[in-house]
């Protein structure tokens, strides 16, 4: 049994089931990120953990104690909201201590706890201000302070960074990660931003349409996505997905794809097991960083395939240059070194690291290999 157990939980509104049999067990000190597009059910699940929404069936337990029907304030949880939800009529200090006051903590203790948290978050200079006088980043800190001061069993974060501008978002991300490392608290964090999910989490649950599509470490999710949805949702630019046919050549399975000139080209699989799919169609998934110029190829890879093809578009992005070509009728993006010379319309020799390629069943969209 974990620290926070979500067992067989479903949620329905009337006849419509919006969450289907979610099973997640979170260990103490873990940083679980629920990630998915809007409407996938991630916020609903978080609100159910918080007790803000009822559970239709199944059970949510914290430290082995069932939480179904327990009032939010008695679950020993704290939550940081997307809008921060700071009480506009109270000062920063009052905002932070309101929860303690409601729980009947005596004033000297409240003050002490607040001072400690304010120092930790470097908001001790702001304590007498009202939320309206704070910047976005400062509000974010106050919201975290309000959560921290309670010393809860589980922290819940509901898209806490989505209202910040890009630069501040990156800074606060690092801040949250530091905080987790130093406090070793259990965190459940909801976001639609896959980079936040990758950087912050110890484990990720990718959700879509009310189902948990995959639950695993960031590396699992990235390298071996359970299906096409996870593969394309996680990673930026998204993983290239293109139809291919499995053919046997020199006794090894190859993916047959069609280049811009209409020629069939063969890319050898790193997994001999793909031989079982010989003669059938699959979906081939290749991440942009696995498609490079020859000098940029991964030297540790045991299976580099070469493919010359016409360049459609180049997009210099500073650190890298993204190059688009057409394969099997799809736009396929590769990531080159910044100083590579490529010109649209010309042929270019791409190298493809087939060790990193993923194959999906075209009917179920589930991963076949690796």
């Amino acid at each position: 049994m974990g620290f926070l157990d979500i067992a067989n939980v479903t949620k329905s509104y009337g006849a419509v089931e919006v969450l289907h049999r979610v099973d997640i067990s979170v260990a103490e000190g873990e940083f679980l990120v629920l990630v998915g597009p809007s409407g996938c059910g991630k916020s609903t699940l978080l609100n159910m953990i918080a007790g803000l929404e009822g559970i239709t069936s199944g059970e949510i337990a914290i430290k082995g104690r069932a939480m179904n029907g327990v009032h939010p304030s008695r679950r020993n949880i704290a939550m940081v909201f997307q809008s921060y939800a700071l009480y506009p009529n109270m000062t920063v200090a009052q905002n932070i201590t309101f929860g303690l006051e409601m729980h009947g903590v005596p004033k000297p203790e409240r003050e002490a706890a607040m001072t400690r948290v304010a120092a930790m978050l470097q908001i001790d200079k702001l304590l007498d201000r009202k939320p309206g006088q704070l910047s976005g980043g400062q509000r974010q800190r106050v919201a975290m302070g309000r959560a921290l001061v309670r010393n809860p069993d589980v922290f819940l974060f509901d898209e806490p960074l989505s209202n910040l501008d890009a630069k501040l978002r990156v800074d606060m991300r690092t801040e949250i990660k530091k905080l987790h490392q130093s406090l070793k608290t259990t965190i459940v964090y909801v976001t639609h931003d896959q980079i936040e999910a990758m950087t912050l989490s110890t484990r990720i649950a990718v959700m879509n349409k009310g189902y948990v599509q995959q639950l695993g470490t960031p590396k699992d999710i990235y390298d071996t996505p359970a299906n096409v949805f996870v593969a394309t949702f996680m990673g930026s630019p998204a993983m290239n997905i293109l139809p291919a046919r499995v053919v046997m050549q020199d006794g090894a399975p190859h993916a047959a794809v069609i280049d811009a000139a209409g020629q069939t080209r063969h890319l050898r699989f790193s997994q001999p097991g793909m031989a079982g799919w010989a003669g059938r169609e699959i979906l081939l998934g290749i991440r942009p960083e696995a498609i490079t110029d020859p000098e940029g190829a991964d030297r540790k890879s045991g299976n580099i395939q070469h493919l010359s093809n016409t360049v459609v578009v180049t997009e210099p992005a500073g650190a890298d240059t993204f190059v688009t070509m057409t394969l099997s009728g799809r736009d396929v993006v590769g990531r080159m070194r910044a100083d590579v010379t490529v010109t649209p319309g010309q042929s270019f020799g791409f190298t493809i690291n087939m060790d990193k390629a993923v194959a999906f069943d075209p009917d179920t969209e589930a991963r076949i290999a690796p």
């Binding site: 559970i55 069936s57 059970e59 069932a66 179904n68 029907g69 327990v70 009032h71 008695r74």
Partner: protein, 297 residues
């Protein structure tokens, strides 16, 4: 899956408190609004005279109501009054709103002047206009003193015209409010659309006719609903301005209901007239409220 029993006491209490808090208001509303409506509707089918009485007489009161010349007059007056009141208020309100919207320097001064009558009681309005329109001391008298001796304006004393004086006073009281509604609508229109239309070469006239006024539809609808329900409910103003007279010339359904119920001791007929008033308003308000409440989600 015994989740219902797992609710702790506090949570269960918290679930009930909101409903308990709302309950008195709901009870009050059900009894004193809807219960009373049903009671009055019931009385309209009884032989009630001075006091409620429970002998059922079927549709007799309604039949009698529509036989009464006074009721026909009240309905006729209401039709004239409502039509003129709604149209004139809308025209004046829209005109003033459009004119005020032309970056007028004195707008801050003018708006409160147009609107202040709305803060007054209809009784005060009635009193002021009663003497202002009185031929003996009011406008007619003043213009005579100013030398226009042939000027004649005694509508308030003339049976055929008295209802129009009610229109004048009512328009005076509410047209500023209609102006405010239209002005809010005008201010809600995206100025970029207007700039685009001007680039397209639209004249001011066309700008208003083709672009702006069509976008004021919600304001027109609100104005219509508010004005029409005020018209049906008009009571105080008539009482103060003309007392229903001269004779019965300015009788409206609201004054009719009051006099038949409380002074002429025909409670059954009075109740029937109240039911008809309610039905008229419901026909306007129910679709409007339904649409307003349904839209979000």
């Amino acid at each position: 899956m015994a989740r219902e029993t797992a609710l702790d006491l506090r949570t269960r209490l918290q679930e009930w408190i909101p409903k308990l808090v709302l309950a008195p208001s709901v009870a009050v509303m059900l009894v004193f609004v809807y219960g009373f409506i049903l009671f009055t509707a019931f009385l309209s089918f009884t032989d009630s005279k001075i006091l409620p009485s429970y002998g059922l007489v079927g549709w007799h009161n309604y039949w009698r109501l529509f036989q009464l010349p006074t009721w026909s007059l009240a309905i006729e007056n209401l039709a004239i009054f409502a039509a003129l009141y709604i149209v004139i208020c809308s025209v004046i309100g829209l005109t003033l709103a459009i004119l005020l919207d032309q970056k007028i320097r004195g707008e801050g001064m003018l708006r409160p002047i147009y609107l202040y009558p709305m803060a007054l009681s209809f009784i005060v309005t009635g009193t002021a206009w009663k003497w202002l329109l009185d031929p003996g001391i009011g406008l007619e008298h003043t213009l005579h003193l100013w030398g226009w001796t042939s000027f004649h304006f005694a509508w308030i004393k003339e049976s055929d015209f008295a209802i129009y004086t009610v229109v004048i006073a009512a328009v005076w009281q509410t047209s500023g409010f209609v102006m405010a509604m239209f002005l809010a609508g005008l201010r809600g229109i995206d100025n970029e659309i207007l700039k685009a239309a001007q680039m397209d070469g639209a004249s001011n006239w066309n700008l208003y006719r083709r672009i702006i006024i069509p976008q004021l539809r919600p304001a027109f609808l609100s104005a219509f609903v508010i004005l029409s329900h005020l018209a049906v409910k008009s009571y105080d103003l008539v009482v103060a301005l003309t007392g229903g007279g001269p004779g019965r010339a300015t009788e409206l359904p609201a004054t009719f209901m009051y006099s038949y119920t409380f002074t002429r001791n025909e409670m059954g007929v009075g109740a029937a007239s109240a039911v008809i008033m309610l039905m008229t308003i419901a026909a306007i308000m129910v679709p409007y409220l339904y649409a307003e409440l349904k839209e979000p989600k």
